[in-house]
């Protein structure tokens, strides 16, 4: 048997923090990557 779904109750603050922390890290990385992709797009558009 393998775990398919987890349901986190509002009082499991630690579990909620775990997912919030993952989100925070993802948002940080997204910012960096999207800035880089924007630069590539601008450079490509500039040579069109």
């Amino acid at each position: 048997m393998s775990v398919k779904k987890i349901i986190i109750s509002p009082n499991n603050i630690k579990a909620i923090h775990f997912f919030e922390e993952l989100d925070r890290k993802k948002t940080e990385l997204n910012k960096k990557i999207y800035a880089k992709l924007d630069k590539i797009i601008s450079a490509k558009n500039a040579v069109k």
């Binding site: 393998s2 986190i8 579990a15 922390e21």
Partner: protein, 177 residues
């Protein structure tokens, strides 16, 4: 599995990044492998702690062109994963969770599951878990999707499955402090 895929570039910093461009849809894709996203939580799971990377991908459209089905995206990402695993080793585990910031995580998970069907014809193993969170009694539920990808012939695959399962139990346990 088609052997056709998009050309890509690989860059290394603290993370390893790959970038490729889809001509059909005028979209640029970025695939990242980062080390420390989950490490803080994996102290009790030595196989995952030693061998896992956080896996993620993003895309950005160059123009407002309508998006068509692009059959080369999965083969390209598959090729990239293989390239990374060649570099990092057969025992590598890729942990992922779908971004929830724009509320499109269910769509992302569906896309990932479709790729999961394609993964069935490859040397990769994918496992995912849905998590439903209601942050307060009043707030609406948010669905998170997280899981892992590894090689079918990862010598530690049974240990990885077992530790990931224990990790899900670890997440739901109330902790001290």
């Amino acid at each position: 599995m088609t052997s056709n895929y998009y050309s890509f570039i690989k860059e290394e910093d603290n993370d390893v990044e790959y970038t490729f461009y889809s001509e059909i849809n005028d979209i640029i894709y970025n695939v990242t492998f980062s080390i420390d996203d989950y490490s803080l939580y994996l102290n009790d799971f030595p196989t995952l702690l030693q061998n896992s990377y956080s896996f993620g991908f993003r895309s950005k459209k160059f123009s407002q062109k309508n998006t068509k089905k692009d059959n080369l995206i999965f083969p390209t990402i598959y090729k990239i994963i293989n390239d990374f695993m060649d570099y990092a080793g057969k025992q590598t585990v890729l942990l992922y969770h779908c971004d929830v910031a724009d509320d499109k995580q269910t769509y992302r998970n569906k896309l990932f599951n479709n790729w999961g069907k394609l993964v069935n014809g490859t040397n990769l193993y994918k496992h995912s878990v849905e998590t439903e969170i209601q942050k307060t009694e009043q707030s609406s539920k948010i669905n998170y999707y997280f899981g892992f990808i590894t090689f079918l012939d990862n010598p530690n695959i049974d240990k990885v499955k077992q530790e990931f399962e224990s990790f899900t139990f670890y997440i739901i346990q109330p902790k001290e402090g």
